[in-house]
Symmetry: C2
C-alpha cells in the first residue's frame, strides 16, 4: 500500500474525470440519441446492434485519468498503449475529453451534438471500430490481436530519452506467448539514450469465459514472476474508488520517481548497472462501476462483464432502466453543461497541447519521421568486370553498406534480429556500433554494450514488436531473419499491414517508414538445418495483404541487393520483403546495371539470351539460387542446341508480374506480353512455392504457357545442389523442361534430354557417396561461356515504353 | 547443492556412458571413416562438409545418461524431449547405445561397421537430418523451430498418469514467446489422471552469437522467475564431471520424489491443492568436453562452440590433430570393444525394452493410437424439411455432437482452445465435462474443475503445442479457434505438417490422429471486432504444405459441418482445416444429403439450379456465408431472368478443385469439366482470398471463365451484409457479375443490373443510418422461392462416375 498524498478535492476531481470517461464509454456502446439523458431513455435511443467491450474499459479510463495528473504535475511526456485495446470506448472517451478528438474530427464536436455523434459512430456502420485503432488519436497500438503491447512500448521508448510509455497489459493478454517473452525487453533498455516503459498489469481477473492465470495463482507467486521479469512492483488493489485513487496516485508518483532515479544515475553518474524497473500491478473488478447483478447473475467482477453487460436494452424495459440508472450513476449533469460540454473544472485537468497523450506526436510517428540519410549504394557496390566471374556473399556486402547507414543515422535507425545478425553476415555493422544489452557483460563477449544500434533477442515476436513500435513513433529499421521462421510473425505482419492500409486514408496520420525484412538463410541454403528450416511461404502470406502496402523483392546478386535495400530504406508506409542469400554467389550486374534493373523491377538480360529477337523459349527466374540454375540451363542450351533462340528474363520485383490493375507495380498487359511473349513457352525458375507465380500471372495472355519450378516441400539436410534437384529446380531439369515444351526440337534435343536425366541420376548418386556436389556443379561458372561472344556486357533491357517507376 | 549418494563406481559408470555418447556425437559430426580411431586420422576420414551443432550436445548426453539411471533404479516410464533439438547427434548417439537405432535401422548395426554408417549418414546426403527429427527413434519433438518443448511435453503427459516427460529447455529457446507462455501449462495438469513433466532448463549460456538472457540476469532473479512460473527448482551447476554427476543424480532423485509425492497426495489423499512442480536448472559449459581454445580463441564455454568447433579438420593438420585428441579424450577403447560394440558393463546401464526412452511407445504414438469411438452424426443432425426453411448455429449443434464424442472417449480425446470454446458455441460439452484448471477456483466460476476434457489458455501457441503433443503420443483432439488468429501458429503447423509428411515414409512410425482445426468466428462475422479480426488466409498457408497431409473443408451448413467433423475425427495423419460460422445460418441439406455431399466433396445442387441440362452460367460457392449470398443471387436470377439456365455448385472439400495429379482429393479433368462446364462463365463466391481458387484451378479447361469473389482485405466493424458488400461478395454484386459475363442477355438484364447497383447503394446508405442491414436482407429466406416448384428436395448430384472417396 502506498502512502497517498492527495487531498479530498484532488480525489474528487480525479473521480469526476473518471466518471466522465466511463459515462462516455457506456454511451458509445449503447446510445444513438439522448446523449445527456435529458429525457427518459426510450427504445429508439438504443443502437439496434450492441457491439463493444465494457469489461476492461473502466480500468483503462482510471489509468488515463491518473496519468494525466502525473503529466500535468510533472510535465511528463507520455503516451498510452492499451494492451486490452478492445476497450476502445475508453481511449476514444479520453481523447474526446481532451479535445483532440474534435480537433482531428471536426464533425464530432465538443458539445452535445458532438457527443451524440461520438456515441452513434462507435461500432456503427460507417463509423469507427470497436477497438483502439488507427482512427483513434494518440494510439500506436491496434487493439485487435493480443500480445504486443510491451514490445511496441519498448520500441517506442528507444532513442526517446524523455518519453514515458505507459503500457497496460491485460491479464488475458498476459497469457500469450509474445507478451510473456516481451517482459524481457527491459534487458535492452539503454537508460541514457532510451526513454522508459511503465508496464501496468491490470488484473481484472477474467477473459471472455474464464478467469485469468495471473489472477488465480498465489499473489506471492505472481510477484515472484514479475520480479523475475526484472521489475519492482507497486500493487494497487481495491474496489473503493477513493481508496484506489489514492493508492494509484501514490504508486504512479513512486514509479515515476524510480524511473527518474535510474535515468539520473545512468545519465549523470554513468552508473549503468541494470536495476529493476518499476511497474504497477492494478487489481480492480472487471466491469467496475457497471451493472452488479443482471437477471439474477453476478456481472460486475466476472467474465460476464467482458462485452455488453446489458444485452437487451432496446427491447427489454427492465434492462433499459438498468442502463439508465447505470448512466445516471456517473452524475452526468455534474460533468457536462447543458450544451454537453465538459465543465471547466474538469477541462482544466487535461494536459495542454502536445502533452495530451491523445495529441503527443510520438503517437503519430509520421509527424516526427525524418528521412534516413542514405549513402549512395555504389560506394559499397562490388566490381563486376563481367557477369559470373566474381562471387560475393550478398548480405556480407550489404553489411558494409549498413555501416554507413548506421553511422549517418545515429539516433534514427536500428537493426533487429533473433540472434542472427552475425549469422546472416551483416556483422560489418559492428565496426560502428554494438549490440545493446543491459544484462551482465563478460570479458569474452564481443560487440555487446550498454548502447548500440543492433537489438537481438531470440524472439521473432519481440523483434517484430520492437521494430513496429520504433517505426510507428517515426523512426526507421530493418529486421533480418531466417526465411523459414519469419512465419512466426505472420499474424503480427497481418496486423501491421492492416494498420498501414487503414492509415492511408486517415489524413492526419502522415506516412511512417516502411517495415523492411531481410530474409536470408533461405530455403535453398539450409545446409546445417534441413527440412524444418525450409519454408519460402512468407511471401505468399504477405501478398494476401492489400496491394497498396506490400512489396516483395528477390535480388539475384550482391549489387541488386544493395540497390533494393537502399530503395526500401527510403520508402514509406510499405511492408518490404527482401529475400537474399548469405552464401557466396555469382555477381551478375555492376552497380549501374543493378540499379537500372531494380528500378525496372524485371527485365530481359540480353547478355544471357541467345537472341535479341523473337525467342523460341523464355527462361525466367526470380531469386538468387534460381537465377544461377536458370543461367546454367541457358548455357547448356546455348552450347548444345545453338539453334534454339532463348530469351533470359530476371525478376527482382515480384509484384511486376501482376497486372497494373491489381498492384501499383504491375506491368501493363502489353508490356508483359512484350517481355514474356504471347505464345512461347516460359520456363520460370522461382525461389518459393511455384503456384505463387501462377497466382500472379493467371490473367496474362501467355499464362497457359508459363511453367514454374520452385520449392515443393521436398527437403532435408543435404548439399545445395541436391536440394534444387529434389525440387526439380536444377539446371538439368530446366533444360528438360525447355525440351519438353518447345515443339519440333528433333533428335538432338531428345538425346540431350536423356543426357540430362542421366546427369541428374549421376549427380544424386555422387552426392550420396561423396557428401558434396558433383565437381562440374561446384566448379561451374558462367565465365566459362564468356568467350562464346556473349556475356561481356552486363546490360539489362527492360520491357519497352513503360513509365512506371519502382516505388 | 544436493547431497549425492552415488558410489565412485556409479559415477564412473555414468561418466563412461556419457563419454560414449559424446564420442559418438563428435564422430557423427566429423567422421566418414576410421570410427574407432584404429589408425591416425587422415584427410579422407573427415566429411567434406561439416554440418552439425556441438554446443548443446554434451548437456543432452548428460541428461539422457542420468535419466537412464533413474529409469533403471525406479522402473520409471519416461520419454525425452530435446528442446535444443539441433543437438541431434546426442539423441541419435543414445538411441544407438540403447540398441534401438540398430533395431529400427538394421543397416546401422551395433558394431564398428554400424558405427561407421551411423557417423557417415549424419547430416549427409541421403542420410539423416542434423536435428532431432521424425527419423530419430524416441522423439516426438522435431529439433527445428524453437519454443515448443514444454507445450509438447505437457500434451504428452495428459492422460498418461504413469509417464514422466523429461523436457529440456535450451536457454536460447527460453527467450521465445511460445516457450515463455508454456511454462504456465503446469496450471492445467491434473495430478490424478495426468503424468508429470520434468522441465530441465539447461543454462549453457550462449546462443549462436550472443549470451542468453537467463544466463545474464542475477541468479536470484532467474530463480524468482522460475518460482513465479510455479516450480520448485533444483540447481545443478559445475564443470567438473564427477561433481556434476553427483549433483545431477541427487537432483533427479529429489525431483522424482517430489513428483511422486504430489501424485500420491492427489491420488490417495484427494489433495488437489496446486503445488510447485519440481524442475532442474542445469548450468554447464557450452560445448563441454570439446576443444577449449582453437586458433587462440576460447571455444568451450562460449557461443563459438555452437556448431562445429573445429572447422577445418579436413585440410588443416593442426585442426585434425585437435579433433583426434578430442575424440581420444573420451577413451573409446574403454567404451567399445575391438568390433566397435559397446562393452557389456555399459550395455547394462541401458534400461530394457520399452523402458528405453528410445523405444518407449509413447514416443511413437501411432503404436498406441486407438480409433475414437464416434457416434453417428445423424443422431445430432438437425431436421431439414426443405432447404433454407430453418436456421441453426452450426457450431452449437456440433457442440451437441461433441458431447457424445467426449462421453464415449473419456481418456482419449480433448478439446483445446484460447478461451473460446463457449464463445465458439461448443459449450454443450460442459454437460459432460469441465475445463481443467489447477489454479484457484471460486464459487462464481462455471465448468472449471481439477479434471476436464476442455483445455483453455489464452495462448494459441500453447493450445497448438498441447494438441500436437497429445496427438504425437497417440491420442485425438480438436483445436477450436478464431479464424484470424490461427495465423499465430502458422509456423507451428508448418513444422507439424513437415513431421507428418516425413513420417509417411518411415515404416516403423504408424500414423497418428489428424490435427483438426475448427476455425469459427470467421472473417464474415466479426461484428464485435472488425478489421483486425478479419483474415481467412490460414487456408492459403496450409495448402502450401505437402498435398499428402493437408485437407480443407468449408461446410455450408450445420449438417455438413457434422458430417465433415465426424470424418476429420476419424481420419489419420492429416492437418484438417474446417471453417464454419457460429452465427445462426440456414440449413440446406438434411443428414443424408449432407453426408453424401461431404463424401463427394463438391456437387451440383439440383434444387437450387434452374436447369438440369447445360447451363448458361455456373454459380459456385464455398463457405457458409458465400453459400447464402450465392443462393440469394440465384433466386433473384430465377425470378427476374427466368430464361437464364443456372447451375448451382457447392464446394465443401476445397482440394477437390485441384487436379487429381496435384492432390489425392483432386477431381479428374473430365469430371471437373462436367461440373463446371468447359466454356460457361463460372461465378464463384468464396469464403477466403479469391486468388486461392485461381491457384487451385489454373490448369482447368474452363479456368479463363472462372470469376471469383471473396475477401479482398476490406473490412471494419459493421453489419454482416455491409461486410460482404465491402468485398463485392453480396448477392447483388453476384447478379451483376452474372449479367456482365453471360453474353446476349439483353435489355431486361441491363435493367436488372442497374437495379442491383441501386440496391447496393440503398443498402449501404440504409445501414449507415439504421445501424443494421436492409430489412429485405435480414428477412430473406430461400423458402420464399420454394413454391416456384423447385427447392423441395434437398438432393445433391455430384459429378458422374468418380470413384474417389473423401478421405
Amino acid at each position: 500500500m502506498v502512502d497517498a498524498q492527495l487531498t479530498d478535492d484532488q480525489v474528487a476531481a480525479l473521480d469526476a474525470w473518471w466518471r466522465a470517461a466511463n459515462y462516455l464509454s457506456v454511451g458509445q456502446i449503447y446510445l444513438m440519441d439522448n446523449p445527456l439523458l435529458q429525457r427518459p431513455l426510450v427504445r429508439e435511443d438504443i443502437k439496434p446492434r450492441l457491439l463493444g467491450h465494457w469489461g476492461t474499459t473502466p480500468g483503462l479510463n482510471l489509468l488515463w485519468t491518473h496519468l494525466n495528473r502525473l503529466i500535468r504535475e510533472r510535465d511528463v511526456k507520455a503516451i498510452f498503449l492499451a494492451g486490452p485495446g478492445h476497450g476502445g470506448p475508453a481511449v476514444v472517451a479520453n481523447t474526446w475529453l481532451e479535445g483532440t478528438y474534435s480537433e482531428v474530427y471536426p464533425h464530432v464536436g465538443d458539445d452535445a451534438r458532438g457527443m451524440q455523434e461520438l456515441f452513434r459512430q462507435f461500432s456503427f456502420p460507417g463509423g469507427i471500430p470497436s477497438h483502439v485503432a488507427p482512427e483513434t488519436p494518440g494510439s500506436i497500438h491496434e487493439g485487435g490481436e493480443l500480445g504486443y503491447v510491451l514490445s511496441h512500448a519498448y520500441g517506442a521508448a528507444m532513442d526517446n530519452p524523455d518519453l514515458v510509455v505507459a503500457a497496460v497489459v491485460g491479464d488475458g493478454e498476459f497469457e500469450t506467448g509474445p507478451l510473456a517473452a516481451s517482459w524481457h525487453a527491459n534487458k535492452f533498455v539503454d537508460p541514457v539514450h532510451d526513454g522508459a516503459v511503465l508496464p501496468v498489469l491490470h488484473l481484472n481477473g477474467y477473459k471472455i469465459a474464464n478467469p485469468t492465470i495471473p489472477a488465480r495463482i498465489h499473489r506471492e507467486e505472481l510477484l515472484d514472476l514479475l520480479r523475475g521479469y526484472g521489475h519492482e512492483v507497486w500493487t494497487v488493489e481495491g474496489d473503493d474508488p477513493a481508496d484506489v485513487h489514492r493508492q494509484l496516485a501514490g504508486a504512479l508518483d513512486d514509479a515515476h520517481d524510480r524511473i527518474l532515479e535510474i535515468q539520473r544515475a545512468a545519465r549523470e553518474d554513468g552508473d549503468l548497472e541494470r536495476r529493476p524497473w518499476p511497474m504497477i500491478l492494478l487489481v480492480t473488478p472487471k466491469g467496475w462501476t457497471g451493472p452488479d447483478v443482471v437477471d439474477g447473475v453476478q456481472v460486475e467482477g466476472t467474465w460476464r462483464a467482458h462485452q455488453v453487460p446489458l444485452a437487451n436494452t432496446r427491447e427489454d424495459d427492465a434492462h433499459r432502466a438498468l442502463l439508465e440508472s447505470w448512466l445516471a450513476s456517473y452524475a452526468p449533469d455534474e460533468l457536462f453543461d447543458a450544451d454537453g460540454r465538459l465543465v471547466p473544472e474538469l477541462r482544466a485537468l487535461a494536459p495542454l497541447g502536445e502533452r495530451r497523450m491523445s495529441a503527443n506526436p510520438h503517437a503519430n510517428g509520421g509527424l516526427l519521421r525524418r528521412p534516413l540519410r542514405l549513402p549512395d549504394f555504389r560506394a559499397s557496390a562490388v566490381d563486376v568486370p563481367a557477369p559470373g566471374v566474381t562471387t560475393h556473399e550478398a548480405t556480407r556486402v550489404l553489411g558494409h553498406y549498413l555501416v554507413d547507414v548506421v553511422r549517418d543515422n545515429p539516433d534514427n535507425f536500428r537493426i533487429f534480429g533473433p540472434d542472427e545478425t552475425a549469422s546472416n553476415r551483416l556483422d560489418a555493422v559492428y565496426e560502428v556500433t554494438d549490440k545493446v544489452f543491459a544484462g551482465t557483460i563478460l570479458e569474452v563477449d564481443e560487440h555487446l554494450a550498454r548502447s548500440g544500434r543492433v537489438v537481438e533477442i531470440l524472439s521473432e515476436h519481440t523483434c517484430q514488436g520492437w521494430l513496429e513500435g520504433y517505426l510507428l513513433t517515426g523512426r526507421h529499421g530493418l529486421f533480418s531473419c531466417y526465411e523459414a521462421f519469419i512465419h512466426l510473425v505472420d499474424s503480427m505482419v497481418n496486423q501491421h499491414a492492416k494498420w498501414l492500409k487503414t492509415t492511408r486514408s486517415i489524413g492526419w496520420r502522415p506516412p511512417i517508414a516502411s517495415l523492411n525484412y531481410l530474409l536470408t538463410s533461405h530455403v535453398w541454403r539450409q545446409d546445417h538445418n534441413g527440412f524444418s528450416h525450409q519454408d519460402p511461404g512468407f511471401i505468399d502470406h504477405v501478398v494476401n495483404k492489400s496491394a497498396e502496402v506490400v512489396r516483395v523483392y528477390l535480388p539475384p546478386d550482391t549489387n541488386t541487393l544493395l540497390s533494393t535495400m537502399r530503395h526500401c530504406l527510403e520508402s514509406t508506409h510499405y511492408v518490404n520483403v527482401v529475400v537474399a542469400g548469405k552464401q557466396p554467389t555469382f555477381d551478375w550486374l555492376d552497380a549501374e546495371a543493378a540499379d537500372l534493373h531494380c528500378a525496372r523491377g524485371l527485365g530481359i538480360w540480353d547478355w544471357a539470351s541467345t537472341t535479341e529477337g523473337d525467342p523460341d523459349v523464355v527462361i525466367a527466374c526470380a531469386g538468387d539460387v534460381p537465377t544461377i540454375e536458370a543461367l546454367a540451363a541457358t548455357s547448356i542450351l546455348r552450347e548444345r542446341l545453338p539453334e534454339l533462340a532463348v530469351r533470359f528474363v530476371n525478376v527482382v520485383d515480384l509484384m511486376r508480374l501482376q497486372d497494373e490493375t491489381e498492384h501499383p507495380h504491375g506491368l501493363s498487359a502489353r508490356n508483359f506480353d512484350t517481355v514474356f511473349t504471347a505464345d512461347r513457352p516460359v520456363i520460370f525458375a522461382y525461389h518459393g512455392y511455384p503456384w505463387l507465380i501462377h497466382r500472379l500471372t493467371y490473367r496474362r495472355t501467355n499464362h497457359p504457357n508459363i511453367h514454374v519450378r520452385g520449392y515443393k516441400e521436398e527437403g532435408t539436410t543435404t548439399t545445395p545442389f541436391d536440394m534444387v534437384m529434389m525440387n526439380d529446380l536444377d539446371r538439368y531439369h530446366l533444360v528438360m523442361d525447355v525440351i519438353d515444351r518447345v515443339p519440333g526440337l528433333g533428335q538432338r534435343a531428345a538425346g540431350l534430354r536423356q543426357e540430362m536425366v542421366d546427369t541428374r541420376r549421376r549427380a544424386r548418386a555422387w552426392t550420396r557417396v561423396h557428401g558434396e556436389d558433383l565437381p562440374e556443379v561446384r566448379d561451374w561458372a558462367w565465365s566459362a561461356e564468356a568467350d562464346t561472344g556473349r556475356g561481356e556486357s552486363p546490360s539489362t533491357t527492360a520491357e519497352p515504353d513503360t513509365g512506371a517507376d519502382n516505388t
